[in-house]
């Protein structure tokens, strides 16, 4: 398979566009997510996005705060112990962003159904309550009959709901390690990254580390995302910052609170973006911005031992740069 390494800027330029259906994640707001990809989307000024995610995380918080999101389908939009997502919520309450609520389980099942190319999946959750009755797409109908319509089980005659399945146009998926072909290993829970990688028409991986394919051959059962379905691989250490990446770094508590606080107003968002969206271009600049002290702190994680078996296959920055050159041809 071909070498799929591509720069972050090129990846966003090539695989995202205004008005698209974009899928991110897919972890919880404190963990693994392709945050840096969303930041670059903000930098390149993407707008009118239809976002699919079971959990928004700081990525959707930022994209919401800068007004890039037309509509979002979500299971959980908050930041867990870090609070409500101030930027996204500002967009939602102002009416700028339409929000369609499902549960986290429902989002996973709908992606599963999309990966299967099923017309719908049976809904045993989200029914007979406001997840079913409220739809931003049909605001004038309450209870809504179209969002999660009722169907009859042909075997028992009982009534169940039906979820619309999801086939995103593009998913940007954060992984711990990838090889240049797009085979990837995730440490920590997958959430629905496995299903997402199969449901999406295009898949861009955002990897904290690039490893040799020999790593995959030693641990094929860990390779849950396969090069066969991946279009591009972006190498970006701290891709999930300020959130965590299992085995590599913890969430940056200070930055998590600071970022969310800045998302509260348009003006503060602007200030935040000057530094954190527009104030860097390269991996080196990004890490310089985070700062050595912070990096030392967040990489001192209790999960570091989980990376040990794979360290010998990890490419150095210089090696990855060579591979990136090869990929450009």
């Amino acid at each position: 398979m071909r070498n799929k390494l591509i720069s972050l800027q090129e990846a966003v330029a090539a695989y995202t566009w205004d008005g698209m259906t974009y899928c991110n994640g897919a972890a919880l707001p404190v963990g693994s997510d392709s945050i840096v990809f969303g930041v670059e989307m903000a930098r390149q000024g993407r707008k009118d996005l239809n976002v699919i995610c079971h959990c928004g995380s700081q990525q959707v918080n930022l994209l919401g705060a800068v007004g890039a999101i037309r509509r979002v389908e979500v299971g959980f939009s908050g930041l867990e112990v870090y609070g409500f997502a101030a930027g996204l919520n500002r967009a939602v309450t102002s009416g700028k962003t339409q929000i369609e609520d499902y549960s986290n389980g429902a989002m996973a099942m709908r992606l599963f159904g999309g990966a299967m190319n099923w017309p719908f999946v049976p809904a045993t959750v989200n029914t007979f309550n406001d997840q079913q009755y409220c739809s931003c797409d049909e605001p004038d109908q309450y209870p809504c009959s179209k969002k999660i319509p009722l169907i009859t089980d042909p075997f028992t005659g009982k009534q169940y709901g039906a979820f619309r399945t999801i086939r995103p146009e593009v998913a940007a998926i954060h992984v711990t390690m990838a090889d240049i072909h797009g085979n990837a290993i995730m440490l920590g829970t997958e959430w629905n990254r496995f299903e997402m990688s199969r449901a999406s028409e295009k898949v861009v991986l955002v990897a904290d580390r690039i490893v040799d394919t020999d790593c995959m051959r030693q641990y094929p059962n860990l390779v849950r995302i396969i090069g066969e379905v991946v279009d591009a691989v972006v190498y970006w250490p701290f891709a999930s910052y300020p959130q965590a990446s299992c085995g590599l770094y913890d969430s940056d508590e200070e930055q998590m609170f600071y970022m969310n606080k800045m998302m509260k107003t348009e003006a503060d968002t602007e200030t935040f973006c000057q530094t954190w969206v527009h104030g860097w271009h390269t991996r080196e600049e990004y890490q310089a911005l985070i700062g050595r002290e912070k990096i030392d702190k967040i990489t001192d994680t209790a999960t570091a031992f989980l990376l040990d078996p794979y360290r010998k296959w990890i490419k150095t920055d210089a090696e990855v740069e060579e591979l990136e050159k090869d990929a450009r041809g």
Binding site: S77, E80, T93, N104, G105, M107
Partner: protein, 263 residues
């Protein structure tokens, strides 16, 4: 003894958890209550998170989220949401779960989605909320699927409402046989543990009534802080104080003292 209301709520919730249960824990208080129970009286408890973290106990204090590294450092398995929320929860397999509530009503329906001036059910249409909360996350799956589950909420009359603005996670819906008619596989909420006491559903009407109150309050104060006309169990009792052992165990789990900082 010195403790915060939040700590008492966590201990009281933990006491509701039985040894050996397969239980799904959410972030924050839910996790603290669950891991407190495991340490305190339920060593065979089988806790997991909605992302599929199994066999883990938190290290370094309250996890910031359920995929926080603090809950990932000693897991025996990492799977995924399909597994945890689907196979184990929505399926009806999990014994218990713990969810939080921004608003809860007298039938145990929970709202964590938003606050409306004109709620959808009243307005007959859906408009953006005045205050956006978080959405249901995995709580809807837990509320529908778990054999039983526990609700934790801060006891204030603006939160304990006759009817919540938006049902994110269904309890007993309109009460009586309504939940049964909906056909949910799980049995519904077995208790609401608040910052003031413990409410349990009437077996027939499914309306939550006051079963017990915390030692630092009384029935009247609980009623005053409840947004519906709260019924009191004839056997209403005072919840026993946390023992020193219980508090010590809770604080072992809550190593960063997150529950001591709040009121």
């Amino acid at each position: 003894m010195e403790y915060t209301k939040q700590e008492f709520m966590a201990v009281a919730t933990g006491r509701e958890i039985r040894d050996g249960e397969l239980i799904i824990l959410g972030v924050g208080l839910s996790m603290l209550a669950g891991y407190f129970a495991k340490l305190n009286h339920a060593p065979a408890l089988r806790p997991f998170t909605e992302g599929g973290i199994y066999g883990a106990t938190p290290v370094g204090g309250l996890p910031w989220g359920i995929e926080c590294n603090r809950i990932s450092a000693n897991a025996t398995s990492f799977t995924n949401a399909i597994d945890a929320l689907g196979f184990l929860v929505a399926s009806g397999r999990a014994d218990n779960g713990v969810i939080g509530a921004a608003q809860v009503d007298k039938f145990g329906n929970v709202n964590t989605t938003g606050i409306w001036d004109a709620p959808p059910w009243k307005e007959g249409r859906y408009i953006p909320p005045r205050v956006r909360l978080n959405g249901s996350g995995g709580a809807n799956d837990i509320a529908v699927g778990c054999k039983r589950y526990l609700i934790m909420a801060s006891h204030e009359s603006r939160r304990f409402m006759e009817r919540v603005d938006y049902v994110s996670s269904p309890g007993y819906l309109d009460g009586g046989a309504a939940r049964e008619k909906a056909g949910f596989v799980g049995g519904g909420p077995s208790a609401i543990i608040s910052t003031l006491g413990i409410l349990r559903p009437d077996p027939e009407t499914k309306e939550f009534i006051l079963d017990a109150y915390f030692p630092f309050t009384d029935v009247e104060e609980v009623r005053e802080n409840t947004g519906w006309d709260l019924k009191i169990s004839p056997e209403v009792r005072k919840v026993p104080e946390p023992t020193e052992q219980e508090l010590a165990n809770l604080r072992t789990v809550d190593a960063t003292g997150s529950l001591r900082k709040k009121r």
